[in-house]
């Protein structure tokens, strides 16, 4: 059960007083070629689905 309202931080793996930004961290993984396919799918999935005429709406998946 995640807490959707919570700003994401990295208390364990990173020490910083600024918010590194989850998206920015993921982008670095992407650039490193190691983010798994589902990250990209999740990002562009809706558009790809829309293109193929899918009527699925998947805005905020329940935790």
């Amino acid at each position: 059960m995640g807490n959707l309202g919570q700003i994401f931080t990295f208390p364990v793996i990173m020490i910083a007083y600024i918010d590194p930004g989850t998206g920015s961290l993921l982008l670095q993984l992407l650039l490193g070629g190691i983010a798994s396919g589902w990250v990209i799918l999740k990002l562009f999935g809706k558009r790809i689905m829309a293109r193929f005429g899918s009527s699925k709406k998947d805005d905020n998946p329940k935790q």
């Binding site: 020490i15 007083y17 930004g21 998206g23 920015s24 961290l25 993921l26 990250v39």
Partner: protein
Amino acid sequence: MTENSQIPSTTIIEPGSFRDRHGRIIYSQGSVYRGISEQAFQNWDTLDSSIFFHKAIQQGKIVQTEKIEINKLTDRSIGNGWAAVLKHQTIPFISYPYEWSYGMLKDAALLQLELLESAVAEDMTMKDATTFNIQWIGTQPIFIDIASFEKLLLGTPWTGYRQFCEMFLYPLMLQAYKDIPFHPWLRGSIDGINPEEFNKLISLRDFFKRGIFIDVYLQSKLQAKYAQANRQVKDEIRTSGFRKEMITANIRRLKKIISNIQWKRIKSEWANYATDNSYTDSDSERKAAFVREVVQTKPFNLVWDLGSNTGRFSRIAAEKAKYVIAMDSDHLAVERLYQELKKEGNQNILPMVMNLADSSPNLGWRGLERKSLIKRGRPDLTLCLALIHHMVISANIPVSEFVDWLASLGSDLIIEFVTKEDPMVIFLLRNKEDQYTDYELDYFERSLMTKFKIRKREALASGTRYLYHAEINSSPD
């Protein structure tokens, strides 16, 4: 607590240095200290034993820093609450990114990346990437925030990447790709431009330009998507197998972008660059001689050259004075001066973009984090050459107001009055109603004499320009 007699009245904690709880800047007796926490102290130990750190200090890229024994401090209260105290080299005059020319922001960005790359090679990282960590010694950018360096936790991406884009990359792109000066944006938002907002400025035509697809488009989309991420993503990152070589690759990619994008206006307008003057040659020489004579009279510590333009008089002042701030509202003029001085390796003239009719205010939390211009250090000599007509006629500042402001600087003054017969003034008045009844030589002189003692007065050969050397009245009016 130490006894009162041991605390010099000049010990002040920097009120604007609070964001990072692991350290605090403290001023005492003209020196700059940094109190650091236990955790920051451990990072300091690692930093101090690294090679890149000392090499960078030697090259003047990081401020000279040393650990000070607390019991050797004159004011030991500096160490209260801290695990250790560091002492830093002082910066002659603080400046902020919304006062830098394009080339200055670019070189600051390259310095940030260069230091990060050398840190990563020795398993350290920089936890943030803010323009406020970089200052200047003349035209040499220098990194001041030692506490930014910490041990790199292997397997983690760079935490400062987003901030780097917001504070360095996007402002540069704004000016390079859109020819929109970044200064109002950075002054309006001291934390920079965020990815989602910047992405909104991007059109199809920009899409294939360097850095746009990855650092703007993808970053903004991923940021928006994962703004409220959950545990799944966190685990994804932790177990991703990220390697530090990927940070290095990303740094090199960013370096390439920043090195290659350019502010187009530099190329097109330099060729046609016209200086704002209507001098006869003898006027010009006399003016230079006048300034030189005054500058030789005493050792000036800090000179403000207001409306510095080509920097000619800044250079003359810098022959003798310790440090000169060359301010002009014309970005191109400041950029040009910066590039010339940089080529010469100049370290005692600091070019700054500044509109004196609307100079930098106090910003940030309680107006403490970024200081207004005057708070950063009063000049002991002010040059105000070929400027007053712009202030009064273009910016509509009354003559007495302007003189009053000059008096508030509390320094010696070299000022040039340009009469209404001068071609430049005629040009400024061409589309305006001449409401400037106060803009007359007599009135100007009388205003000047209410606050200053006129030491020297010279009418230039052209007959439309008058030079004054004035000293501030020691007794308040």
